[in-house]
């Protein structure tokens, strides 16, 4: 029997033949990064490789690193291993890593969503023998509605608030979700304010060529009435700070896949939950897996054990890798209360 192309090491997912890691959680000499969320891209490695579009976000998040970038579909050869990256549809520059060695193909998905959101390059299914997948929303209760439906819900909520002179505060993850939301907002309703943790990432998106509507810092809007008609994008961490106090009368909401469950919305006692995720839902995970034609599936994070058990019952050869992905509060990988991974 041949050795596996990728194995689980204490530092992370390791490719023996190529002597590199994918999204390692400890410092290693060579790291391929699927995307810039903090549980997948960590500091301290000697060399990094990522998709070209992820470059500026990675510099922003990891500081002055040694980074090589390649385009989607571009192939590099390294110690007899062919490595290429393909869009994962998750955030700017998010990539699946395709590794070919001695006629065998493995794909590491990173985080992905299958619906085209119109601002990130769409997920592309890649044929492979072994597919290493996430399962953040790997339960059948997670079933997303089309983006256009959620878009209408959000704009209607904003419109209703604006008509009653109530600022709309929309909490969302700063990298990826905030920019996706920006692209969905109906700017005729009022001005859009971006929190200081979100605006620098908007800038990077714009520099990378993604058209986003104009955003303001809260201090730029001095007219009280304008502020009442505004929609404010803020990271979840801002919900517990004084930053919010400046908005008198407001309605708040949170945009996340976790909002599918009422209890999760209640835990934060926010007015509205919009079910919008940058991860695949249950059906999305299953369709993505089927389209790879892989026989062997390895689940890295989310409802890993449950999802792997289900895949086994469906005839796949499925197992789990116990990784450190999803251990983070500032992106969609973890529920608000840290407690569902079983």
């Amino acid at each position: 029997m041949r050795a596996d192309i990728i194995e689980l090491r204490p530092e992370g997912l390791y490719c023996t033949a190529g002597d590199f890691y994918i999204d390692p959680w400890q410092p290693v000499p060579m790291a391929i990064i699927t995307h810039a969320h903090s549980d997948h891209a960590r500091r301290g490695c000697e060399k990094y490789l990522s998709n070209t579009l992820a470059k500026n976000v990675l510099y922003k998040r990891l500081g002055n690193i040694t980074l090589q970038t390649i385009d989607y579909g571009e192939i590099i050869r390294h110690r007899g291993v062919r490595v290429s990256l393909y869009p994962a549809g998750h955030i700017l520059g998010s990539a699946q890593v395709k590794i070919e060695y001695r006629g065998e193909t493995w794909v590491v998905s990173g985080d992905y969503k299958v619906e085209n959101d119109n601002i990130h390059q769409s997920f592309e299914p890649i044929q492979c023998d072994t597919f290493i997948t996430e399962s953040t929303f790997g339960l059948p209760i997670y079933r997303w509605q089309p983006q256009s439906v959620i878009q209408a819900q959000i704009n209607n909520w904003w419109k209703d608030n604006a008509s009653q002179n109530r600022t709309s505060i929309l909490f969302c993850y700063a990298l990826g979700k905030a920019q996706r939301l920006l692209s969905l907002l109906d700017c005729s309703i009022g001005p859009i304010v971006a929190h200081g943790a979100i605006e620098p990432i908007n800038q990077i998106y714009r520099e990378t060529g993604v058209a986003l509507p104009q955003t303001y810092m809260v201090t730029q809007i001095t007219d009280k009435v304008a502020l009442e008609k505004a929609l404010v994008l803020a990271p979840p961490s801002a919900s517990r700070t004084n930053w919010l106090k400046r908005f008198g009368h407001f309605s708040d909401a949170f945009a996340s896949g976790w909002m599918q469950i009422r209890g999760r919305r209640r835990i934060k006692s926010i007015d509205r939950g919009f079910v919008l995720s940058d991860h695949a839902d249950w059906a999305g995970l299953l369709s993505a897996i089927r389209e790879t034609n892989a026989d062997r599936i390895i689940v890295t994070h989310g409802y890993s054990e449950i999802f792997a058990r289900y895949l086994n019952e469906q005839g796949f050869d499925a197992q789990t890798f116990s990784t450190k992905f999803g251990e983070n509060h500032e992106n969609d990988d973890s529920p608000l209360d840290h407690s569902i991974e079983t």
Partner: protein, 547 residues
Amino acid sequence: MREFVELYMQLDSTTSILAKERALRIYFSTASPADSAWATYFLAGGNPKRLVKTSILRKLVNLSTTLPSWLFEESYESVGDLAETIALLLPLTPMGTTDSLHEWMKNSLLPLRVIPSEHQAEYLLSLLQKLDSTGKFVCLKIITGSFRVGVSRLTVIKALAALAEIDEKIVAQRIVGLVGINHIPTANDFLTLIQPIDATNNINQTGLPFPFFLAHTIPYDVSEMPEQLGLSQDWITEWKWDGIRAQIVKRGGEIWIWSRGEELITERFPEIANMREHLPDGAVLDGELVVWSNDKPQSFAMLQQRIGRLKLTSKLLKEVPVIFIAYDILEWQGLDLRQETLLKRKDLLNGFINANPIPGLKISPILFADSWQKLSEYRGESRQRGVEGLILKHKFSQYGIGRTKEVGIWWKWKIDPFTIDAVLIYAQRGHGRRASLYTDFTFALWDKPKSEPDRKLLPFAKAYSGLTDAELREADQLIRKSTLERFGPVTTLEPTQVFEIGFEGIARSKRHKSGISVRFPRILRWRKDKSIYEANTLMDLQSFLPH
């Protein structure tokens, strides 16, 4: 149904009371009386008895999806609510019914009761396919008898009172009958609810009680009381009786006994119902039902024997005699007295009862004290007197509704609970807001003293609340690490943690493994400083039993 589901969504998608009141006003001003009656019923906390068994709901999922049952259970555990889980799993369908709420109840849901159980799942599925996903959720919540939305009954009362332009107190009183258990609300009920007041109906001609006025836990220490509450002499202080809070309503020759849960319990207490001979018409008394023998109140556990028994034998009536301890009078000669001062009401009550003693009726004595310190000493006697502590009511206070504080406050000053250090052995996930956290814990005590070699942990109480969210999260992490096995929703743990458990009452019990039942157990503190070997024993618990 569409409009009611829409109302549900509006109430559920805001935390602002004003927005909720507005949504209610809009709904009630457009809905028909028959629909409004059902809406009031559900919003004000009425719940029809569970319409189908849980096993039927699981069968329904099997019929309509291809999910293996273990996956359904995992989903349920993650969501924490059965109705919500099913609504999230059933195939999506658009809203396909034009039935209004009352038509839906009458034509679709209530018939479930008469459909043989082997056909219920198919029938229910055909109903649910006519609803969109929120509709499915609302309908399943009704079916499981667990419909709840974030409005208090008071908010509903306010909205209806504003709409009908009548006093909130009148609406509050009338609503009691509408939400009663086993009641099927009708258009007529709703019209009566919002009917304008005139000479013939300002005091209820039926047996309805007034909404109970409830006490708040006193947040002050005895040293703060002079500053916070003023002179102790301005407060009327009584014992806090450990029984069933009840109102006795005597009107038109008939008598009704209502519990605080707005349940009619007249038949349960024939000796109290006998007061029909002695009380004049147009009288409502507020007080407590307690078991009384040997000239003192007996434990709540004894009262429970009376409630639990289907048949009241004369032997039981003799062994467990119940009296009514009156502490307030809310109606007299057909007049609503709730806006009179407590002092005046007490005078009336004492005057009447002293002149006309009634068997089985006692007046709750007033404790005279010239200082807060003296009251604190009275409180210290509570346990030996078989009461729960003191209750303080300002002498000029009116009788409010529920937990309102506008017209006067009642403070309960309870004795400190019994406490015991116990070991955590089982955990179960919570529901609703804390659906994904472990919130229900079972605690155990050692069955033998420390010196014995082979002692075991014996479960003695289940406690729900008392930990902060941060502690719950920490407990959650710990539970994951110490899980021995999982059986359904229950996780068995390796015993490692000690908690201080407080409880209010204690009694012998044949139904409990430990032989003892405790009342209102709750977690007081996490004793991280203690090892499980230092936890208390069953003998320690037994020592609290009254001799």
